[in-house]
Each structure stands twice: as structure tokens, then as C-alpha cells.
Amino acid sequence: MALFRSRYGEGPLHLLAAIASFAIATYAFLEIADGTAPLNFAIWFVAAIVLHDMLAFPFYSILGVIVGETLRDPPAASARPSALNYVRVPALLSAFFFIVWFPVILGFSDAEVVESTGLDTDPFLERWLLLTGAMFAISAVLYAVKLRGGLRSRRARR
């Protein structure tokens, strides 16, 4: 057992589970390979990883760093609360909604939607913009309230 563990890196249960897991996955791939456009399936499968790990992740990380650096906590002396999370929270929520609904927001499937449902995708860009605007507006109000609270407590201290 010790020999197995030192050579394989885990216990035998891991190997059994791994074989089962890869057998099922390989079966599913073969089933798809027998269907329509198997190469497209493979491309989209790999593209999902590449798009997320190599494009989306670096993109939002860099964006996060830029926003973070720009809105970094002000020096303690100013006592002004940081606006960072008042930007990050609505931006993240807006991004979540965009990531899920971008095909209709950007009208990519407009022709199909019209053909299938009899309605178009026209309102969705506006609705998403309004939703985003509303979230930022609420955030701005909350930040303003916080700023006033900070000012008042500083005045009270004086």
C-alpha cells in the first residue's frame, strides 16, 4: 500500500474513482462524436476553458486592480470613506446579469427570437442599462449618506 501510495500519489480509492470518472466522460465524448458537428463540440468545450481562464479572468482581474488602485482607501487623515465597494458591488451585479443575458441584450438572437416567439429583443439592452443605472444610483445615494455621516461625525468631533 505504501508503495502504491508513493508511486501513484494517492490511495487506491482515488484510482478507482478516477477510472470510473474518466470512463463515463469518455463514453459521453464518444456519444457526442457520433452526433452532429463533434469537432465543434470539442472546440466549444476547450474554448469555454480558454475564454474563462485566459480571457475573462485576466480581464476582470486587471479591471479590478485598476478600479482598486483608482479608488484606493484615501489617507486616514481625510477620514473620507472609500468609494471602492460602492462601485464594485453594482458593477459586479450588472456584470452577472450581462454574462447570463448578453445574447438578448446585444440582440445576437433577435432573428430567432422574432421567428419563434413573435416578439423581438429590442427592450433588453434598455432594460439592462436601466437596471445597471438603478443599481449605481442606489449605490451613489448610499455613498452620499455615508459621506454626510462621516462629515457630521467629524464636525461633532471638532
Binding site: 482515488h14 459521453a28 457520433d34 452526433g35 458537428a37 475564454l51 481562464d53 443575458w101 438578448v104 430567432e112
Partner: protein, 435 residues
């Protein structure tokens, strides 16, 4: 233990620059507790989504007629253990609604979990042992599989098909890949989560505000940061945003499942828009235009052809209207996770089976005037035909069906997926089933 020869090390000890360096990862929030917490939130949603997905598959009765849409022509594997019941009538609307709700709700959590585990994708050395190599390969299937399955679903409910493969088998077998990899992942990670919850407490890290947020203790085997920067957000803050995103998407999905006044909650869904207020003003899955229905074929020359035991019989729409009419309030429930309940009036399917010359239980294959397409026909089971609420509807909400809703006649039946409620019916072939 015998003296083993040392295995050669294929990778240099020194990691390449960038994300492979432990100093690269700065977030003080990353660590096994955060990943475990997100994973524990994600797992029940994935389980609900997977179970309801396979249930939907059962609801299509893939063993009947040409109902199977996952088969690749060769064998195909239909996970199919029991007959989907017709009670309650909203059962399919409920299970498929849950499928879309849990799927959409999972997406922000999935993305956050991928973010939290990101340093793992840049491990160095890339391979430490055969087991480690299998784990990493499986991780590629897990990440690729989860993104693939969730986003093919997301694109399908918005009718965007930028790929060349057909959606159902890709989504279905993609789920096999994802779930197989998830099983192995759980086996490996349950102990990690247990330890994290034991050491940090299950909810204790949620109590800390930004100022009291401490990084999880550094360990080279975990994602806890080696050189964390000062926190700018608490863990509960991060989880709150993710939860709010998840809740927002849940409300949108709930809106299109429940319908009625709640439909407007589905703010960004193509199924969230209202029609007018007339009897035929409700959601259409496929318009007559898309189905290429020639209006001339639906006029007074239209006949419903019934086949069964003996000589085929034909009925005009007027003759059907003269038969005993029944009105049932039933939902159309789409695989895309939207539904709409309306009052349908028409002839019972079991009465039509009798007219076709069938005594006792019968299945029926319903053919549409629509000439092409996967769903221009469907086979309903004997239990679906026998249910008294199953109708060949001629009217809806007291008015004749509109062309888009299947004029001259359409099938509507309880707990049957929408695409099996064939529109523009041209013929019905009943076949007796031995009791």
C-alpha cells in the same frame, strides 16, 4: 518498505514568472474556507439542476416512437427509469422551472468559485504524481464541463445557437462529463472542506467586517495567499454580492415560470415579455411562420385523420366541434423553463382513441402540418392519452385558437413538455397497448 530508485523530476523546481509565483495572488479572501463555502452553496443547486434535467428527459418518454432526441443514431443512453406521471398537471412546469431557476442561480456562485480556486490552475510543478495528473485532467473536464453545460443552457433559453452541434445531446452528454468530473472532485475535496470548516468554523468568517477580515493561514497546498494585500471587502461582503446576483437571477427565472403578474420579474428573459390581453395573447414557442405552416392547409379543407385499428377516419373542424367538448385549465410548460396556464377547450384524446377504433389503453403519435423539424411529431404514452384532461384543443380562453397557437387544432395534456403538445395537428395514429 523497499528502497526505490528515485523517479526523475520532469519540471524544474523554480516556477516560471507570473501567476505561477506564489506572490502573484494577493486577495486576502481566497483560501480553502471561501472555496469550500462557495462549493457547499453550489452543490445543492447543481444536484437540483442535474436531477430535474434528467427528469425532463424522462418526461419526454424517450422510449416511445421518435421521442428520443439524445440518441446519436447509434445507441444513445437514455437515463430512464419510470413513467413520468400526469399528476399534478403542473409537474413538468415545476420540475423544468426548478431546472432553469437552479441553473441560473448557480452561475454567480460558479464564477465566484472559479475565481477563488484560480491559483490552483497555475500550480507548479504542473504534475507531481500520476494521481495529481489525473486530478488536473479531471479539473479541466470539471471547469470546461461546468461552463459548457451552464452556458449552452443559458444560450438555449435565449435561442442563440452559434455552434454547429445540436443542443440537446450536447447539453445532455456534456452533463455526463461535468458530473463525472464533479464526482471525483467531491471525493478529493470533501476532506479539504471538512478541515476548513473545522479550523475556521462554518460561518464564523462571515462575522468579520472588513477591518477584522484576516487571511486564511498560508499553506502551499491551498489557495490561501502567501503575500496577501490589505482587505478591501469582507468575506460576507463578497458572498453578499454573489448571493444578490444569484437572487436576482432566481427572481428572473421564477417570473417566467410562474407567469401571470410575476412574468414582468423576468426582466431580461425573452420569455418575460407580455403580449396583449386577448384570449390568444400569451407566450408562443414557435410561430406558424417559423414552422412554415401554409395558411391554405388550415382552412375549411383541413381534416383530422385518425388511424388505429381499422379503416382511417377523417373529421372536419366543424365535426370535431360538434363532439362533446371539455374545458381544462392546463399549463404549456417549455423545456426552456417558462410556462403559461390557459383554459383550453376541445375533444378528449381518449374519445378520439375510441373513434379511431381502439378499445382500452392506447399510445398516440401525433403528426403536425409542419413539414420539417424535430418536433413536428410526438408520441404520447397510454397514461397521457388516458388522462381525462388530455385534449385535442380547438379553442383557448373561449376563442378559436390563433394560427400561432396551433389552429385548427393542437394537443394539450397535463405534465407534458410543451413541444409534445403538437400544434397544427394533421393526423393521430393510435396503437393499443397491452394492459
Amino acid at each position: 518498505m523497499p528502497n526505490l530508485p528515485k523517479l526523475p523530476k520532469p519540471f524544474s523546481e523554480k516556477p516560471p514568472p507570473g501567476p505561477f509565483q506564489r506572490e502573484f495572488w494577493k486577495s486576502p479572501l481566497r483560501g480553502p474556507w471561501l472555496t469550500s463555502f462557495l462549493g457547499s452553496a453550489l452543490l445543492p443547486l447543481v444536484i437540483i439542476c442535474a436531477l430535474t434535467g434528467f427528469l425532463s428527459h424522462v418526461a419526454y418518454y424517450p422510449d416511445l416512437g421518435d421521442n428520443s432526441i439524445t440518441g446519436s443514431g447509434r445507441i444513445g443512453f437514455d437515463l430512464y427509469f419510470f413513467d413520468f406521471p400526469t399528476n399534478p398537471a403542473w409537474l413538468y412546469a415545476f420540475t423544468q422551472g426548478l431546472h432553469i431557476i437552479s441553473g441560473l442561480a448557480a452561475i454567480p456562485i460558479l464564477l465566484a468559485k472559479l475565481w477563488s480556486a484560480m491559483p490552483k490552475f497555475f500550480e507548479w510543478p504542473p504534475v507531481r504524481s500520476p494521481a495529481h495528473m489525473l486530478d488536473r485532467l479531471s479539473l479541466a473536464l470539471l471547469v470546461g464541463g461546468s461552463l459548457f453545460v451552464f452556458f449552452t443552457g443559458v444560450l438555449n433559453i435565449q435561442l442563440w445557437y452559434p455552434w454547429g452541434f445540436s443542443f440537446v445531446p450536447a447539453h445532455y452528454y456534456g452533463a455526463f462529463v461535468f458530473l463525472a468530473a464533479l464526482g471525483l472532485h467531491l471525493l478529493a475535496k470533501i476532506s479539504v472542506a471538512r478541515r476548513a470548516f473545522r479550523e475556521e468554523g462554518v460561518v464564523k468568517p462571515l462575522r468579520a467586517d472588513v477591518r477584522h477580515t484576516e487571511p486564511e493561514p498560508y499553506d502551499e497546498n491551498t489557495t490561501a495567499p502567501y503575500a496577501p494585500s490589505a482587505p478591501t471587502m469582507s468575506r460576507r461582503g463578497l458572498l453578499g454580492v454573489v448571493g444578490a446576483g444569484s437572487l436576482g437571477l432566481t427572481l428572473m427565472a421564477v417570473g417566467q415560470v410562474v407567469g401571470g403578474p410575476f412574468r414582468s420579474l423576468a426582466l431580461l428573459s425573452p420569455r418575460g415579455r407580455g403580449f396583449g390581453s386577448g384570449p390568444n395573447e400569451f407566450q408562443v414557442n414557435r410561430t406558424a411562420l417559423e414552422a412554415a405552416i401554409k395558411p391554405a392547409t388550415t382552412t375549411s379543407t383541413w381534416r383530422l385523420k385518425l388511424e388505429g385499428g381499422g379503416v382511417p377516419v377523417e373529421f372536419s373542424r366543424e365535426e370535431l366541434l360538434e363532439m362533446t367538448q371539455h374545458t381544462e385549465s392546463l399549463p404549456i410548460a417549455c423545456v426552456e423553463g417558462w410556462s403559461t396556464t390557459q383554459d383550453w377547450t376541445g375533444v378528449r384524446l381518449k374519445d378520439l382513441a375510441a373513434l379511431a377504433g381502439i378499445e382500452g389503453d392506447a399510445e398516440v403519435t401525433v403528426q403536425s402540418l409542419q413539414e420539417g423539424g424535430t418536433f413536428n411529431q410526438a408520441t404520447l404514452s397510454d397514461s397521457q392519452v388516458a388522462d381525462e384532461r388530455s385534449l385535442l384543443a380547438l379553442q383557448v380562453n373561449g376563442a378559436d385558437l390563433s394560427l400561432d397557437h396551433g389552429f385548427p387544432a393542437r394537443v394539450i395534456a397535463p405534465a407534458v413538455p410543451g413541444v409534445h403538445c403538437t400544434k397544427w395537428v394533421s393526423s393521430m395514429t393510435f396503437s393499443g397497448v397491452d394492459a
